[in-house]
Each structure stands twice: as C-alpha cells, then as structure tokens.
Symmetry: C2
Subunit: 275 residues, 2 copies
C-alpha cells in the first residue's frame, strides 16, 4: 500500500480550507501552512503533493494572495475546483452561563453583523474562525462565530446556526503540478497585456470570436510597473476543446504573456461525505 | 467669512487619509470616521461636505470598500484625485534604549517585511499605522512603522526612513455631490453588464471604437447573484469631450447600467504644501 497523499492547506486546524481538504481527500496527510504563499511554496517544492487554497468567495470576491500565487508559480496548475457553502454558527463553552463578547475573524464578523448588532455583543477580532473557537473554549463569557467543524473540535456547544446575514459560497482550488483537462468544464488563465490602447478589447475578442464564454475577469497590480495590471480569467470549456484551443492561440498573438493555469472539474463540497 | 469646509476622512488621527486630506484642503474642518462606508454615509447626508478615501495602492490594488461605496451611493461623485507616495518610517519613544518589537498594521508590516526580518524584530499587528505610533509612545521597547506625520504627532524619534521593500503610491478620491469635468483628464464609471456571452467584449468595444483609453478595470461580486460581477473602470478624458461622450452613449446601449462617477483632475499630494 502506498502512503497517503500529502495535502498542503491554509491553517490553523479546522479552518475552512482544512475542512475543504478533508472533504476533497478522504485519505490524506494534511500539512497546515501559515499563509497561502506558504502553500504555494510547499506544493512547488514537492511534486507529489497537492495544495488546497480559497480562490473566491461569492460575497467578498477573489482572494488576492491566491491570484498572485497562480501568476508567480508557473509550474503550479489547478487540478480541481471545490465549492463549499459557508455555514457560520455561534458556539460557546458548554459551562458558559452568559455571553457578553463574540470572537471571530474580520470577514466572519462583517458577515454576521446584523446578528451581532441584534444581540448587542461586544466584538473581539482574531485572525481566524478556528482561533475564535479556541478563545471560546478558554473564556466562558466569549462566544465564537466559526464553522460547525471548528466548534465540534474545540468541544463547544452550538447556540445558533446560520448567523450570517446572507448565504455565501467559497471556491477552493486544488493546486498540483498538472491539471485535469479531460472532461473539464472550466479553465483558468493569467495574462499580461501589451502596453497599447485597446489591448484588453483585443484579448477579449479572441474569446468572443470563438464563442468561448468568460466566467470571471479580475485585475491585479503589476509589482514591476506602477498603475499597470495583469489579468486573471475563468472561462467555460477545457483547453483540449477545439474552439478553446483556437481562442488561446489567438490570445497568445495579441498579448504579452498567457499562462494557462489548467482545465478542471468542479465538485460541490457540501455533497461529499461528512468529516 | 464663511465657515471652513467639512472634510470626512478615514481615521484614526494621522492616518494616511487624514494626511492626504490635510494636504488637499488647507483650511478644513476634519471629521474622522471609523470606516470607509461611514465616510460615504457622512458625505451623503451633508451636501456641503466632501470626503477623502483611498481608492487604490500601486502594490496592493484597489480598495474594495471604496469601489463598493461608489457603486452604492449614486448621488456621490469623484471631484478630484490625489496621489501620495507612501513613506514608511521606523520611529521610537525618545527614551527607548533598545527595540525588541515592531508594531504596525498588516499592510505596512508586509511592505516592510525585509527590513523587519533583517533586524529580527518581533511583530505586533494593530489596525492602523497611527495606532502603532500610539503604542510606541507608550511602550519603550516597541517601535512603530508609520508615517512621518504620525511619528511627529506622537512625539516619536525617527530611527530609519524608507523602511518599505518597494516604493508605492496611494490614490485618494475626493468624494462630493458633483464632479469637476472642465479640464479633467480622467474619469471613473461603474457598470453592470447584460447576462449574455460577450457582454464585456461589447462594452469595451464602445471605448476602443471611439479611441478612449482604459486605464484600469476591476470586477467586484454582485451581492444579489452568486458568481456575477459589476465593473469599475478608469479611463482617459473628461465626460464633456465629444469622443468620451460618444463612447458613453454606446456603452449605455450595450450594458444594463452605467453610472458615470465623475471626471476630475489629479494632484500630486507630495508636491503640495507641508503639513
């Protein structure tokens, strides 16, 4: 029997990335990293490993550190996508009598702002939802807004479910040294434009002419020159389909650099087995 | 003599936004706000006032809260742009003998990461660079990475200048109830696309055909529907120029919504009088 696949994820333990990785890979040796950049470095230095990182949340938008990592690490590709519904719970120490404070990370706090205001809690900002659960386990007057998984692992009791103002979904990418183009419905690329007026228009023309649908386009600053940008694109289809291939060929002719970051399938993580 | 102009800025005192506002408005009654959204609300409710908010940093990219505010508040326009070079200093309490820790906000800490690593400082993350200066004034073993202005106002001594790894610039917008199209060289708009393939391509065609140069395009998630986006655009020229006007007319025909957020002039804040 071979050894388990090593999966690098953004920690700490019981973060949403950790949960996504546990659901996407039933048998895995999970390795927790402190930053998304560290996940990219870890995957780059071990060809047999994969990484799991968030790429976009449906309310917050893309995750800049992941977009920048895809642009920087030319040898790393997207092998698979997982989409997970974000379920936030309010959890407390089972011995707690009354909550006066709520701990969570800034994103989760803003996503649950109506719930917090209605209940008149004081707010404590910590770097992650799982660290919030850890604080709640220690301090009985502090509740945590975190995932159900984190609440369970820190021995907390769930007081309320779905405390978020609106439902949101997070897309995760499985990073690897190759992609999975066969049967793939979606692809991702990074492109740098020529420094000419109309450059973006001509780039998008390559897609429109070949009937390839863009799903998402996002710009990030080029660190090398001020007020210039590179672009991240998601589009429909696999790079091995004829029309996609033709669009990419034309795109290469009108841009400075195109990095096809992979064609991949998408999984609904919530429908996978329970962790 | 009339009373001074009320200027709403993102606080706390001696933040970069506060500094930008002091340099852009020699005589002003500054009102500090806790969030960018609060600046928008304050300006919206007082037609005589203006606001100063960061819109983009040349290394970090656009400021999502400002982009979302421009899309939400239809009655607020961009009246002027100010560009400021970000100069970070290391400052300490004059009585301090040895620094062991460095406090700053996460962005400034990441911008000065080489300097911090070389000097082997422990890091303390606080919400703003001016709060870092306040901590340094109180705790003699803690240095602050902050602006020169914040250092001066908290009575700190400057130990090193230009501690950032790379130079960066921040663009600020002056928000008001009208724009300044006469003689303006730049404009900003928000647009929502039709839900059809090629919609972005057709929108950019309106600019390309009329020879209007795009400076920047950025997408943000629509809170109303998952994995759909609205767009923020900066382009050259004023809305009262013939070709810009023609491009905007054509754009309106191929999009769901166009909000012209104003045509405005740009100032180099570093060349304005000293605060």
């Amino acid at each position: 029997m071979g050894s388990a696949l090593r999966v690098h994820v953004l920690g700490p333990s019981w973060s949403f990335s950790h949960e996504a990785a546990l659901k996407l890979f039933e048998k895995a040796e999970i390795s927790l990293n402190r930053t998304i950049s560290e996940v990219f470095r870890s995957v780059a230095s071990d060809e047999q490993s994969v990484g799991v990182v968030p790429i976009e949340n449906s309310l917050q938008g893309p995750v800049n550190e992941t977009v920048d990592g895809l642009a920087e690490y030319e040898q790393i590709f997207v092998k698979e996508e997982g989409v997970m519904k974000v379920n936030l719970v309010l959890a407390k120490n089972p011995k707690s009598e009354k909550l006066t404070h709520i701990a969570s990370n800034p994103y989760a706090l803003s996503q649950a702002s109506s719930f917090i205001a209605k209940n008149k809690f004081e707010v404590i900002s910590v770097p992650s939802t799982s660290q919030a659960a850890e604080v709640a386990a220690r301090e009985s007057e502090v509740g945590a807004i975190c995932s159900e998984l984190a609440a369970r692992h820190y021995g907390l009791e769930i007081v309320a479910r779905h405390v978020e103002d609106r439902e949101s979904y997070t897309r995760f990418f499985v990073l690897a040294h190759s992609d999975s183009p066969i049967g793939a419905k979606k692809s991702t690329l990074i492109m740098n434009l020529e420094h000419k007026p109309g450059a973006l228009f001509r780039a998008l023309e390559a897609f429109a002419k070949n009937d390839v649908n863009l799903l998402m386009i996002y710009s990030r600053p080029l660190r090398s020159s001020r007020w210039e940008y590179y672009f991240y694109l998601d589009f429909e289809g696999s790079r091995i389909e004829h029309k996609v291939n033709k669009a990419l060929e034309e795109l290469t002719r009108v841009t400075q650099r195109v990095l096809v970051k992979g064609s991949y399938s998408s999984k609904n993580i919530n429908e996978l087995f329970k962790t």
